[in-house]
């Protein structure tokens, strides 16, 4: 793991932990903002560990409201462990702590199914859409999130992220060109 990525991950996890330290009503919004910040790093570094942390934070945001106290405490402990292990360069133990964090989220997920989709899948789609918004291509954004283009296109088409730009070629001119291609 390169140093820059390591620094970003430690920052994101520490911020997440700060938010989770005391359970408060505005935590949910803060987690969402943090996960949006994480996605910028993903777009810049295209790093799998960063992707995994961005998805984890977004997933925590989604299941936060129905986490039991025990799950909440365990999650904080795992995030803490992930930070410590990463700082010490114990990547194996870091990965284990992240994996356990995902497991805790997955347990809560059973209670908050999103349109029959796993929270984690939903988080990947959401974060993939955020990458599209940053200007990455459909294939690049889907690929980074481990999604198919079908998943991402289906979702992104219903948002405004792929239609907020200025086209150089006017639509009527492009339509004219298309008709010409087909001899009309």
């Amino acid at each position: 793991m390169n140093e820059e990525v390591k620094k970003e991950i430690i920052y994101d996890l520490q911020e997440a932990l700060k938010i989770l330290e005391v359970k408060e009503a505005h935590d949910v919004e803060e987690l969402k903002v943090l996960s949006d910040h994480g996605i910028e790093d993903v777009a810049l570094h295209k790093d799998l560990d960063l992707i995994s942390v961005a998805v984890l934070i977004y997933s925590i945001y989604k299941v936060f409201h129905c986490m039991r106290d025990e799950e909440y405490t365990n999650l904080k402990s795992e995030l803490n462990s992930a930070i410590t292990q990463l700082k010490q360069g114990n990547l194996g133990r870091y990965n284990k702590a992240i994996k356990t964090s995902f497991k805790i989220v997955r347990q809560c997920n059973a209670k908050v199914k999103e349109h029959l989709q796993d929270v984690m899948d939903a988080a990947k789609i959401k974060k993939g859409t955020a990458l599209l918004e940053k200007g990455l291509s459909m294939g690049q954004a889907a690929g980074l999130m481990g999604l198919s283009n079908w998943d991402l296109q289906q979702y992104a088409g219903k948002t405004s992220v792929i239609s907020q730009h200025n086209e150089k070629i006017h639509a009527d001119k492009r339509m004219m060109r298309a008709l010409k291609v087909f001899g009309l």
């Binding site: 910028e40 777009a43 810049l44 570094h45 295209k46 918004e133 940053k134 200007g135 990455l136 291509s137 459909m138 294939g139 690049q140 690929g143 198919s148 283009n149 079908w150 998943d151 296109q153 289906q154 992104a156 088409g157 219903k158 792929i162 239609s163 907020q164 730009h165 200025n166 086209e167 150089k168 070629i169 006017h170 639509a171 009527d172 492009r174 339509m175 004219m176 060109r177 298309a178 008709l179 291609v181 087909f182 001899g183 009309l184």
Partner: protein, 229 residues
């Protein structure tokens, strides 16, 4: 010389999801040439969705098009050219001196094949590559706004990329739908009400947009006005 059009994955996905894929065989008959997809596009259209329950039937619809020869797989992908183009694209913009890799090589295949075949037309719904080819200034602007950071641009690379691809004519699934409308392929859906044509056009153009074609609301209005003339 046989006329050819290369298709990216996006427009086929948009048409399948919009339940408009039936227009493709008819469009091909009218075109009188070949409709090609590259192996990477085939993988995204068939291989990948076959493994996902939610999209398995969509994959079967594309498989049928391939089996019936409506879409043909182009096997002579110029790997060197694809690599050269992707290197140019992914090293054209930098943030904090780090190259911003905005595209995947699979997405560049269709364009590289079109150049090799001297084919003028590529059907592509993808916004990023289209902006890169047609309007790289807007691409930089988009990146700066979205990242809220200064984007360094390698002018030489951007110009080389644009020059190489300037002959490529890009159309989207929404224009294909417009062509199908003009050919009367959608007439069975024409409602017998006042303003029926406008209703039909609205319905088909918006469904393609909602299924992933990168088109703005303003463009839809322009296309509609043009087709209703």
């Amino acid at each position: 010389m046989t006329k050819v059009i290369f298709f990216d994955a996006g427009p086929i996905i948009s048409l399948v999801m919009s339940r408009l894929i039936f227009i493709l065989p008819e469009l091909k008959k009218h075109y009188g040439g070949k409709f090609y997809i590259t192996p990477a596009v085939k993988k995204e259209l068939v291989g990948r969705p076959l493994t996902i329950k939610r999209f398995r039937f969509e994959a079967l619809q594309v498989m049928r098009l391939i089996r019936e020869g409506v879409l043909e797989v182009y096997d002579h992908v110029p790997q060197d050219k694809t690599k050269m183009l992707i290197d140019l694209a992914n090293n054209s913009f930098k943030i904090n001196s780090k190259p911003l890799e905005v595209m995947q090589s699979g997405e560049m295949e269709s364009v590289a094949c079109a150049l090799q075949e001297d084919a003028a037309t590529v059907v592509m719904d993808e916004r990023t590559l289209r902006l890169f080819i047609e309007n790289n200034k807007e691409m930089r602007h988009l990146l700066e706004i979205r990242f809220k950071k200064k984007v360094e641009i390698d002018k030489a690379k951007v110009e080389e990329f644009s020059n190489l691809l300037q002959k490529i004519n890009i159309i989207r699934s929404i224009e294909l739908t417009g062509v199908a409308y003009k050919l009367g392929l959608l007439d069975p859906y024409l409602p017998k009400i006042k303003g029926g044509k406008e209703t039909l056009l609205d319905a088909i153009l918006w469904t393609v947009k909602f299924n992933g074609c990168a088109v703005t609301e303003h463009e839809i209005e322009e296309i509609k006005t043009y087709l209703l003339k």
